[in-house]
């Protein structure tokens, strides 16, 4: 097998990484109506969770680290906070996968909720380290809820990609 055909046959395994990075960027785009910008869905987290649940072999540690660092850079958060959240999400989800088989959308939604909670709690804790007084908890809550509500769109789109990758 030549190098070219080797790359060609394996390039599809980069789709989960690129999808998660692309959706992370879309999260900071003007996708929300005026006045609701601060609770835009965390599409990158939803996408990463989807791939960890369905194909943990592809969404490995390296990809999770890349997504974490990239998220920190584009979101402007403390470098390492999104990375820590991403790693924690992967650890928690891979532990849970043995107990509950991820087949239907409800399981996926459950895993996504867990991931969003981990992500937002870590962000909240690190933000609290800087600023103990001024935290609006409602924004965290609503961002989590909006992300859960929007996530079926991301799930169905990525199920299509999953089929393409696995076929």
């Amino acid at each position: 097998m030549s190098l070219y055909s080797d790359i060609k046959s394996n390039i599809k395994y980069l789709i989960p990484l690129f999808m998660s990075l692309l959706l992370s960027i879309i999260s900071i785009m003007p996708i929300m109506p005026n006045g609701y910008d601060s609770i835009a869905p965390l599409l990158g987290v939803v996408s990463m969770t989807f791939w960890i649940v369905h194909r943990p072999d592809i969404m490995g540690w390296l990809f999770v680290v890349i997504i974490g660092i990239f998220s920190d850079i584009i979101y402007g958060s403390v470098l390492g906070s999104a990375l820590l959240s991403s790693l924690l999400i992967r650890v928690v989800l891979t532990k849970m996968l043995h107990k509950l088989d991820p087949v239907n959308i409800f399981h996926s939604l459950f895993y996504i909720t867990i991931s969003l909670l981990i992500w937002l709690i870590i962000s909240l804790v690190i933000n609290s380290a800087f600023n103990l007084h001024q935290i609006n908890y409602y924004n965290y809550l609503f961002q989590c809820l909006i992300s859960i509500i929007i996530s079926p769109i991301v799930i169905f789109f990525q199920l299509y990609l999953l089929k393409k990758i696995t076929s």
Partner: protein, 292 residues
């Protein structure tokens, strides 16, 4: 969904393969803790990494932002077209009142200039600015910042105040070569020394990662009333004085907050001020707290 259930067996095998990577797990977490710790202990190193990578990502972010922003703006314009009659009615009324204010301001300006000449007061500082394009939105609940399409190539400095029509929006937090990050005044980490000019009352305004700003010295709030205008005081030299910050509002529970006049997400361009000592004509050694 049927196709997905067929994958169950494949998934189970895959999961078995990926679950026993304890060493990689530990190493990944050590890396995360190391980077996080370095953010606090060696902020300069992490800052350089962030800025470099942000520069590389800018072109991708910008190319995605443009079409999405065009669609968003088109939708907003569509709303304006539908409501053009009502909006026009409101604007005509506003315009009438502004005409009266404009005449009063002209008289006031002439008088102020006369007093300045009589008292021999030196001219106020005039600053240069760079107009910069916004290429991201402040969409997160835990941080309020946007990416700008200008960097050190256009003489942008770390800490430069960012304004729009004399309204303070925030300051430059990260500067790359071709891009920079504006941290807005609504971010929880930003504090602005301010003044309510009509009452000569100095207050400190802080963001709380929400649309509104909070006042940090609430013991001195008794003379404040709803509708009072808050401006930058210029204390600390981080921001120029007399930039508009917002209007005092009262919440239903009685809490006093400040409402900024502009939502950063409704803007496409901002002005980055050249607030360096040199550009302001200051050649003496300044307070190291702010200029180190």
């Amino acid at each position: 969904m049927a196709g997905i259930s067929n994958l169950k067996r494949v998934q189970a095998i895959i999961r078995e393969r990926t679950s026993n990577n304890k060493l990689i797990t530990i190493l990944s977490f050590l890396l995360a803790f190391f980077i996080l710790l370095a953010s606090f202990v060696y902020p300069n190193i992490n800052y350089s990494i962030k800025v470099k990578l942000l520069d590389y990502s800018t072109s991708i972010i910008s190319s995605i932002y443009s079409p999405i922003n065009t669609i968003n703006n088109s939708l907003r314009n569509f709303y304006y077209i539908i409501n053009v009659h009502n909006i026009n009615k409101k604007l005509v009324l506003e315009n009438e009142s502004y005409k009266n204010i404009s005449n009063e301001l002209l008289i006031l300006k002439t008088k102020t200039d006369e007093y300045r000449d009589l008292l021999n007061i030196s001219n106020t500082i005039k600053y240069k600015f760079v107009t910069s394009k916004i290429i991201s939105r402040s969409n997160l609940s835990y941080t309020k910042s946007v990416i700008l399409m200008s960097g050190s190539n256009e003489d942008i400095n770390h800490g430069s105040p960012v304004i729009f029509n004399n309204v303070l929006l925030g300051y430059i937090n990260e500067v790359g070569k071709t891009s920079s990050r504006l941290i807005t005044i609504t971010d929880g980490m930003v504090k602005v020394p301010s003044i309510i000019i009509e009452k000569n009352l100095k207050i400190i305004i802080s963001g709380n990662n929400d649309k509104y700003l909070e006042i940090l010295n609430p013991n001195e709030l008794s003379p404040i009333k709803e509708g009072d205008k808050v401006f930058t005081s210029g204390d600390g030299n981080k921001y120029p004085e007399n930039l508009f910050i917002g209007t005092i509002r009262k919440k239903i529970n009685g809490d006093i907050i400040v409402e900024p006049p502009i939502d950063i997400n409704s803007l496409n361009y901002v002005y980055i001020l050249d607030w360096s000592l040199k550009s302001r004509g200051i050649d003496i050694k300044a307070d190291p707290i702010f200029y180190d």
